[in-house]
């Protein structure tokens, strides 16, 4: 086996040094009744050629672009990943390093994460970001737990129904063993969250909304933040498509206390939903309640600038059961991909790209309206929107799929009241021709 370098002579010499007769002797501390009686039953080992063939066969059994035109987002977005990002991310000094516990030997990862934190904070309009978390869903769950800690005694969190349904399910899982209560906030006919139920809540720790929300609608974070602050509660602004902030107001400038969500859009391949990137940012005054790793700037003994993991006393390896989170790792390499992507885009690039995404999506909306379809939500959208294709669209959807066009996500499973409604997404990966083809096919 090419990964195992030991020759029989090596093994003999090492056994001799250890004073053992055979490798089996080394396992004598394991009681007999704990040992396996039979060898593992696994497929015979594959050569690299065989493995390539096998994986290519599996890959061929997947519907992906460019063979398919996929008008679907719903938390996972197809964006162009520049060759620069894939290539640099493959540098194995980054990929094969552990968490930077020894800063002198990990300045590459540390500076890169410091830069990621900075770019993320700028993107979200916040003062401080952590080194990343697992994904948008766990970032939201951790944000709610953080708000509960800050509020100390309060037990309620108001959660918009227009937040990604999967994120809400994850939040429910995290909160199941606690005595915290999730109060759902309905959405208004215009497609944005109804904040009025907040008025009657008297034990409110936080209000969580997503913008753009699951329907693509742009929420008014400023109002949500004001209403939250009126109740001495925190405003959590979630997101699944951060590219929007290249064009739209960011959560921080609208008064959000915690901005958290999914960063997969930023240069990370969809990979069937993971690994992704939990982005998490907050105000400086809450930094010691924030979960996750943080990199900070300092100097070495010669006074030269360097970077270290810092504020570690919040974390599980020191504070154990009293930690701000049980999280140990971040999604470092995904954070690095996002930083490279943001650096590649730059200030003008992100604006132009976000604008192009917006314009193409608006074009599809206009074409569908022209074709006679109803777009039920009036609120402005980014990249995604809901269309009422009617209750009998399922067959058309299947027919189009057979023709390699995916005409969005059926919402009925997540919102029974929206049967016949579909969530459509357009990014820069779909051209005007693709859009025209979709519209003429559904017409």
């Amino acid at each position: 086996m090419r990964y195992l370098p030991h020759t029989p002579e090596d093994v003999d010499a090492m056994l001799k040094a250890v004073g053992a007769d055979s490798v089996d002797d080394l396992f004598e501390s394991i009681p007999v009744d704990c040992r396996r009686k039979h060898p593992l039953r696994l497929p015979e080992s594959l050569s690299e050629w065989e493995l390539n063939d096998h994986i290519d066969t599996l890959g061929a059994d997947m519907a992906v672009s460019p063979d398919y035109r996929i008008f679907m987002g719903a938390g996972s977005y197809a964006h162009h990943i520049p060759a620069v990002v894939s290539y640099l991310l493959g540098r194995s000094e980054f990929a094969t390093a552990y968490t930077p516990y020894q800063p002198e030997m990990s300045q590459g990862t540390l500076q890169a994460i410091f830069e990621y934190q900075t770019l993320t904070a700028r993107l979200l309009g916040m003062k401080v970001a952590n080194a990343s978390q697992y994904d948008g869903a766990s970032a939201l769950a951790e944000a709610v737990l953080m708000a509960m800690r800050i509020s100390r005694r309060k037990k309620q969190v108001a959660v918009s129904r227009a937040i990604h349904p999967h994120y809400r399910r994850v939040l429910e899982t995290y909160l199941a063993p606690t005595d915290y209560e999730i109060v759902p906030l309905p959405y208004l006919p215009g497609g944005v969250t109804d904040l009025d139920p907040l008025d009657t809540m008297d034990d409110l720790a936080a209000v969580a909304v997503q913008s753009p929300n699951f329907f693509g609608c742009i929420e008014n974070i400023e109002t949500a933040a004001q209403r939250a602050h009126d109740k001495q509660a925190l405003c959590i602004a979630a997101f699944s498509e951060p590219l929007a902030y290249g064009l739209l107001k960011n959560p921080g400038s609208q008064g959000a206390d915690i901005a958290c969500g999914e960063g997969q859009s930023m240069g990370i391949a969809p990979s069937f939903g993971g690994p992704a990137l939990g982005m998490f940012a907050t105000r400086m005054k809450y930094v010691r309640s924030m979960p996750g790793r943080i990199v900070g700037q300092t100097v070495d003994t010669d006074g030269r600038r360097g970077f270290v993991l810092t504020l570690a006393t919040r974390e599980q390896h020191i504070r154990r059961e009293k930690a701000t989170s049980n999280i140990c790792t971040n999604n470092s390499l995904c954070a690095l991909a996002a930083a490279m992507y943001m650096a590649t885009l730059g200030k003008t690039g992100i604006r132009e790209l976000a604008r192009l995404n917006y314009d193409r999506c608006e074009y599809l909306k206009a074409e569908l309206r022209d074709a006679g379809f109803t777009l039920p939500f009036e609120q402005s959208t980014f990249n995604e929107f809901v269309v009422d294709f009617g209750k009998n669209f399922e067959k058309t959807h299947s027919r189009l799929a057979a023709d390699n066009i995916i005409a969005g996500l059926s919402l009925e499973k997540y919102y029974p009241e929206l049967s016949g409604h579909y969530l459509l997404c357009v990014t820069e990966m779909l051209t005007k021709d693709d859009i025209d083809r979709l519209v003429s096919a559904v017409r």
Binding site: L42, G296, N331
Partner: protein
């Protein structure tokens, strides 16, 4: 004269991203504009983030230089105890980047995703076979996430029996994630001490186990590199009081094909694919922390689960007692592809051999260094061994000094000051992918450092000198945090 890998090569300076660049530069290629600009409400529009403006070359040089300040398994030996820094096979990267898998959208109909679903279904079966458990979930994104899943399963199990519990037993050798994960489920950790042999005793467990205790979290092999040989008796005690046994499988690398985890009393077990199954650590993630359970806990596994029916695969949420969803989609599938590729490349025989060689390498280091450094527990170890700085204390040299000096010799330091039960711990895990000659050089380096500690301790106090930076001031970093630039 021995030539060690460490040297002071040419290391180039590089500023922060925003200290480079110029107004008007961009490194991004935009697609041709084929639609007219559409109106956007001014009240919604923002200013856009203040990102640096860099050319493609600026970005490439920046990250290439940063990468050269880093040390990975591909650079050299990385014997970080408990972290299993084994070689990360390159073919795994190729497989995960296969366009059909890498570009897969997670919300399409099952019929359009058969390739990824088959891979996940089979990987679950492989992990079940390797551990000897009955069922698995691949959803947890990391080891700590797997622990959380496990504790939620404990919670759901006790709740389903209308007998919620309030405490959990956690040994003093446990990873910090154990008590933190348990606390998220409302369990108060009850610490117990390991014996002078470095393992748990049935007596210590029996003394605290009661009907308010949800169970115990055991890392086996433990963080001292020792097999918890009383595990079956301990499990019997816990089960007799209605509790469950959680296995932290972070150290599964030592026992593949050797121990049957399903028959030693463990009810729930998490694995770290980024340790045992060779996926890269990425400078701190993404990992993957699948959880395996015995049959009686299968109903509680997270949803969705992959089901096979009539030769086709589909995702099902139809499990009444499930703890729910833990990840926005199905976990770190891209990482799963790498672990799946590793298992297929290795096969049953080589997986067992990997464990055997990991244990041989660790015992070899233990034997050859035990006269140089104080050995915390002088008995045969599994995949790692734990020394301390006790013999160097007379020279006013600490574990920290020793490992900083090791950097100058060209090795990544072992894990230090963990487990907490060994003051000044030096925890060495070579893994099976290190060749004897590299291990010999590592041993020689540590012997040489021990001699320097005696003859010239200043060398150690000033170390490292060959890295891009000397020792960094962590105190100022924490007192006056600068967290963004």
């Amino acid at each position: 004269m021995t030539e060690y890998p460490g040297t002071t090569g040419l290391i180039l300076n590089e500023p922060l991203l925003w200290e480079k660049g110029k107004q008007g530069r961009s490194g991004f290629s935009l697609p041709r504009r084929d639609v007219a600009p559409q109106p956007l409400s001014e009240t919604l529009a923002g200013d856009g983030p203040d990102f640096p403006q860099l050319s493609e070359v600026d970005v490439v040089r920046h990250y290439t230089r940063l990468s050269q300040w880093n040390f990975g398994v591909d650079t050299g030996m990385y014997p970080l105890g408990s972290c299993t820094m084994k070689y990360n096979p390159k073919t795994n990267e190729r497989q995960a980047a296969q366009p059909g898998l890498a570009r897969a959208h997670p919300m399409l109909d099952d019929d359009l995703c058969q390739g990824s679903l088959l891979l996940m279904y089979d990987l679950e079966r492989f992990l079940v076979e390797i551990t000897g458990m009955d069922a698995a979930t691949l959803q947890p994104a990391a080891g700590a996430h797997g622990e959380l899943a496990g504790m939620l399963i404990f919670y759901a199990y006790h709740k389903s029996r209308n007998a919620p519990r309030s405490k959990i037993i956690v040994p003093d050798t446990a990873h910090g994630t154990n008590p933190a994960s348990a606390a998220l489920c409302g369990y108060r950790p009850v610490p117990i001490k390991s014996s002078d042999q470095g393992v748990l005793t049935p007596e210590a467990v029996a003394a605290v186990m009661d009907e308010q205790t949800a169970g115990i979290m055991v890392t086996n092999p433990n963080t001292l590199g020792l097999f918890e040989e009383n595990i079956r008796k301990i499990a019997d005690i816990v089960h007799a009081k209605g509790g469950l046994v959680y296995g932290d499988g972070a150290n599964m690398n030592a026992i593949m094909g050797i121990v049957h985890m399903g028959q030693i009393g463990i009810d729930v077990l998490h694995l770290n694919l980024h340790k045992t199954f060779s996926t890269p650590h990425g400078g701190g993630g993404p990992g993957a922390g699948p959880v395996c359970v015995l049959k009686h806990l299968e109903p509680f596994l997270p949803v969705p689960r992959v089901i096979k029916e009539n030769g086709r695969y589909r995702l099902s949420e139809d499990f009444e007692y499930s703890i729910g969803r833990l990840h926005a989609f199905y976990g770190n599938v891209g990482v799963l592809v790498k672990a799946y590729s590793y298992i297929l490349s290795m096969g049953a025989e080589n997986l067992k051999k990997a464990s055997q060689l990991a244990v041989l390498n660790a015992n070899y280091i233990k034997e050859r260094l035990k006269d140089t450094f104080h050995l915390a527990y002088d008995r045969p170890c599994m995949h790692e061994c734990v020394f301390s700085d006790k013999l160097q204390q007379p020279y006013k040299v600490t574990t920290l000094d020793i490992v900083k000096r090791l950097m100058d010799y060209g090795f990544h330091p072992p894990t230090i000051y963990f487990p907490l039960v060994v003051p000044g711990a030096l925890m060495i895990e070579p893994t099976e992918t290190e060749a004897k000659e590299d291990i010999d050089l590592f041993i020689e380096s540590l012997k040489s450092i021990a001699a320097e500690a005696r003859d010239n301790p200043e060398l150690l106090h000033a170390a490292p000198t060959g890295c891009r930076r000397k020792r960094l001031d962590e105190t100022t970093a924490a007192r006056k945090p600068i967290l963004t630039g």
